[in-house]
Symmetry: C2
Subunit: 495 residues, 2 copies
Amino acid sequence: MVQRLALRWPVWLLPWRAACTPGTFVQQRTWAGATRTPSWGRLHGVAGVSPLVRRGSSSKSSQAPEVVLTCERYPVRRLPFSTVSEEDLATFERIIPRRVITDPEELEASNVDWLRTMRGCSKVLLKPRTSEEVSHILRYCHERNLAVNTQGGNTGLVGGSVPVFDEIILSTALMNQVVSFQDISGILVCQAGCILEQLSQYVEERDFIMPLDLGAKGSCHIGGNLATNAGGLRFLRYGSLHGTVLGLEVVLADGTVLNCLTSLRKDNTGYDLKQLFIGSEGTLGVITAVSILCPPKPRAVNVAFLESPFYVLVETSGSRVEHDAEKLSSFLEHALASGLVTDGTLATDQGKIKMLWALRERITEALTRDGYVYKYDISLPVDRLYDLVTDVRARLGSQAKHVVGYGHLGDGNLHLNVTAEAFSPSLLGDLEPYVYEWTAGQRGSVSAEHGVGFKKQSVLGYSKPPEALRLMQQLKTLLDPKGILNPYKTLPTRA
Amino acid sequence: MVQRLALRWPVWLLPWRAACTPGTFVQQRTWAGATRTPSWGRLHGVAGVSPLVRRGSSSKSSQAPEVVLTCERYPVRRLPFSTVSEEDLATFERIIPRRVITDPEELEASNVDWLRTMRGCSKVLLKPRTSEEVSHILRYCHERNLAVNTQGGNTGLVGGSVPVFDEIILSTALMNQVVSFQDISGILVCQAGCILEQLSQYVEERDFIMPLDLGAKGSCHIGGNLATNAGGLRFLRYGSLHGTVLGLEVVLADGTVLNCLTSLRKDNTGYDLKQLFIGSEGTLGVITAVSILCPPKPRAVNVAFLESPFYVLVETSGSRVEHDAEKLSSFLEHALASGLVTDGTLATDQGKIKMLWALRERITEALTRDGYVYKYDISLPVDRLYDLVTDVRARLGSQAKHVVGYGHLGDGNLHLNVTAEAFSPSLLGDLEPYVYEWTAGQRGSVSAEHGVGFKKQSVLGYSKPPEALRLMQQLKTLLDPKGILNPYKTLPTRA
């Protein structure tokens, strides 16, 4: 009963060895530990923490050690694309005057990924404002056989958003205009470079919310969200982007503008082409505009932060404050009486809700402060979700600083993170292929929501049969025969 | 306010010139007419009507006039596929013993569509039980260059489900097994030939519901629902199949089994290949099994049937009877006070709910009894939804028996139906391209949920740009280079 109820709501599983606020430590407690840190009183104290550092913020990069070039860390060879010439730069300057960036310092932030594990050596960053400009750029790159890495907020976790070698970086940063919003239906049309948090604010002022939300919202672009089929914190409630996205405008590799930017709930006029590009990580086309369905803003939101052996964050949303409060307290009474929940706190005001969410959203950031992080993003049957954490913990013993499992309970999505002082091939050898084989044994997914990017190409076979991998390759060849779009990514070429 | 509330619920717009129960007449009332037939008392009387005749039922075919062969009614030429030989039949008999149907009487029901507007002349119907059998059949047909028409419940409205010439009919009727159901997550895995209503019963016994429901549920197959990207009556609440379908098993044209049958909420391991097949009407592959997410069964369901100038059917579902009743009555009070609603009835018990729904679900059937039906299935901006009906009514004058507009208000989906004594080229000429041009002028869709099939191929251009049509054709060529799967359908070949 409780299990069922829990699954009807957005539920997030937090690591027992909880990652707390930045600057503090990753708590070292056993799985069955007795300490109960975030009780009512303690949680109120969270109010005093420092302001959020958004993912994508460059605050730490000035002091951080230099990131090794991707081509030095990984066994990857440059494909025979052309190299950007002075003549190319002049052409780009004609297409988008004063928006061709070659300054090395400005390029640095776009060459290095947020996790600081990959570094490209691109010499040029382009900032188009319109899909026509993107079309001109791609048509030219296609003719010249120049490789292109489309970049949104550069918040990805699998190295998909930065160049591997000297690919041209095509930034969506200036494509940040809202095109239209329908007050009756909640349908938003905007350019791909709109920042998710700004869109959220825009539609909330109009009594709607975005159907997705994620920790990187302050930096990530809606186009990047779609290109990576972002999951995030509202997935359980509002479903996949494959359902909520109504239309896309995409520029294909040869510069063709594919206009599927309808704002219709239903449209069965042939194949649903936009679906191809959702989750294709910029390898099949460049998403330039989006039409997306926004749900009505809930009038009542409750957040509960609960303890049993796990920390669980539950958010409910509905249309009547009293109704929702009544339902939630009835659920909690039941959960407490049955012993499933032992302690917790509730929040209804925005400030406290944000603080509770920050505990969840900033885990990624906290982990990066614990040392080198081996990251896995796994889908599993819900009843096996945490077994992988305990198995890995037992397997690694003292090799790891921490083996942390958190994620999205309702979605069956486990974020397994292993931290260590530094990168070590022997630790990696103990983790892989073990984690992937374990996942495949449960018919799980080796990439639940983070995608494939550069880092997970070689492990697709654990979750996808050869026939599917072959069809992926055929689609790539059909849509981008020269392979200029986000090369070295997504496709199983480095098996 | 009321408008907004209404859009949060499943809302169906019924025709003012309402189609009532079978055997009765299509009521002739003006748009602003004063009679109020379905008031409280009258509606209860609906209990006495005859049992539902399901779409796909053959009850009427025995007396109905012969349906003209498609190739005689439409200007279409047979493509150079092979013709089924005795040797082919013997091969099929070896693959699926005693499930190769050549009896003309049995073939009749599969050669003619439900609307009785199309007739193929297939000489053989195959009834595989497994995807391996489908794979053997397709591999053989591919080698032999034999065309194949996959058929589910044969309830489609655009001629997609029956052969145009002598294509082999591949029926999913015997692929009707449930593979698994997860009580925690509500994930159902089943074969493609399961009948929607039977799946509904199956999951309802387990306290879940199917995410889709439609008038043809007693006959349609889940595989056909996916192949046509069926919308239906729960679309507004639970969203598109592109969001609720988690996995598919598909047999490709050459017999390759593409197993994307995962049961995971999140899986970002590369391109989401299953999306290609949802809505592709059997032209890219044969769907043999499905993994689909079922929502929890609502504990409280309310149906309101309201009158203002339109009949509106509203269904709410929630988790608490009292809460939902309170919310609904508060909404109705507001709607009545503002004059938006003038009369109506409420239902909470299953019997009355079904009766009210029957009024909506049986409109299609009622229309077929009014004569020849010109059917259009249009997506429009909600505020223009009914204007097309009044415009067409004015344009046709006495040429038409009735011009009926009903549909799904919340989805912006209008079913425009024009009835006449018999088919008339001059009436058709007044309807087309007028209806399509009108729709294109609003950037609407000329096929909201019924699909393209055989009948709408030539009008895709009103809703899709040439670049999209070209990509559709390229995808078809990639996946089915010989074009043996459901030929003459979906693609814009008869422009």
